[in-house]
Amino acid sequence: MVMKRIVLIAFGALFLAGGTAAAQSPEGAAAEPALAADQAPPEAGVQPDPSAIRAPEERRMPPAGANLQEQCEDLLRSDAAWRTRLRDQLTQRLLVDDEGANELTKENLEWRALMKKELATEIHQQDADEMATNRKHVIMAYAALWVITALFIIYMYMRQVRLREEIARLERDIRDAARS
């Protein structure tokens, strides 16, 4: 089931990418093959490059007549880390990042709806995990509170210093006036 989803995602992404590239390139479907050369999965244990999954306009169409789905399946089977990364990035862009989702799916709303349906469980789980372990915002809020309070106390301290100076000046002026 998971594999089916992954294949569907990759297929959809590559389909869109191919469509975009074909629309931009005068050669259309005759463009040179790209998958094996520049979309090769990284070696095991190596952190994949974030730019590995490129924007649709950077992709190129596979050779005419090639079985795109088989290519995708082979590619995804060959490296688990790359597969996970592809799925995560697509999930993020489709369902979390609205701008990313619009960019990816602006030419195919039907595909977007399909992907959303397929990824519903994953995205709910992802949201739940993120909320359950969201320490970043809590730390930010408490830090902001202390920083703002500290700034106010510093402001009060500076006022106190100025006030002491003013009182000392006043005392000096009164002494001078009394002498004269």
Binding site: M131, N134, M140, A141, Y142, M156, L163, L170
Partner: protein, 227 residues
């Protein structure tokens, strides 16, 4: 002038103890919320700061009214100190609320009724402080009028969640809290009230001394004692 140091020390010790106790209760003594999960931990001090904003605005407004009626500087001293504290707690409330909004709604800010009226109140109080600082002689009365206007805005902020449809949780959330959560929230409010009183006492002493020094210098200049 009365020596307020013992009072300040007692308030400081109680406030420090209260902050430590509430921090412990927030992170170890209350369960994780079933809907907002861990980010709900922001709630306790965020709400306490909102209450202190209201307290600050009310104290500022009431003492401004007294000043307008009796024209005695001692009322104005309290109004100015409370106005500054309202700005302080309002800023904390807005910043922590914004961070919580990002965690819960995915957005730093939303122009809904509660957030907008709260921002408006903060801007009125900021206006009050700025008029006091840069308005020159006679600005006290103008600022006092502004403070009374700010006080009238407090019910609008509080009831905005009932009057309009908003993203912000309603005021009915508090009675529905689980026992330890409710206790922690009210303890937080009490602790921040102590912090408010502590800062108010210290700040009033400063504004009063500042005014008295200014008046003494003016008296000296008027009588020809100083050049």
């Amino acid at each position: 002038m009365k020596n307020r140091l013992p009072l300040v020390v007692i308030l400081a010790v109680l406030t420090a103890a209260g902050l430590a106790a509430t921090l412990y209760l927030i992170f170890w003594g209350t369960p994780v919320d079933r809907q907002l999960y861990f980010s709900q931990k922001i709630f306790y001090w965020h709400v306490a700061c909102a209450f202190m904003l209201f307290v600050g605005v009310f104290v500022c407004g009431i003492y401004s009214l007294l000043y307008l009626k009796k024209r005695e500087g001692r009322y104005d001293d309290v109004a100015l100190a409370a106005g500054e504290l309202a700005v302080l707690f309002g800023a904390i409330m807005l910043v922590t609320g914004s961070i919580w909004g990002k965690a819960a709604w995915g957005k730093w800010w939303e122009w809904d009724a509660r957030l907008t009226t709260a921002l408006l109140l903060e801007m009125i109080m900021l206006g009050y402080v700025l008029v006091r600082k840069f308005g020159g002689p006679g600005s006290e009365r103008l600022a006092a009028g502004l403070a009374v206007f700010g006080m009238a805005d407090v019910p609008l902020v509080y009831f905005s969640v009932r009057i309009w449809r908003t993203l912000h949780p309603e005021t009915s959330v508090v009675p529905g809290l689980e026992g330890s959560m409710r206790l922690t929230m009210w303890l937080s409010v009490l602790t921040f009230l102590l912090l408010f009183v502590l800062l108010l006492v210290a700040r009033v002493a400063q504004t009063r001394a500042d005014r008295q020094v200014r008046e003494a210098r003016e008296l000296g200049l008027d009588s020809g004692l100083f050049d």
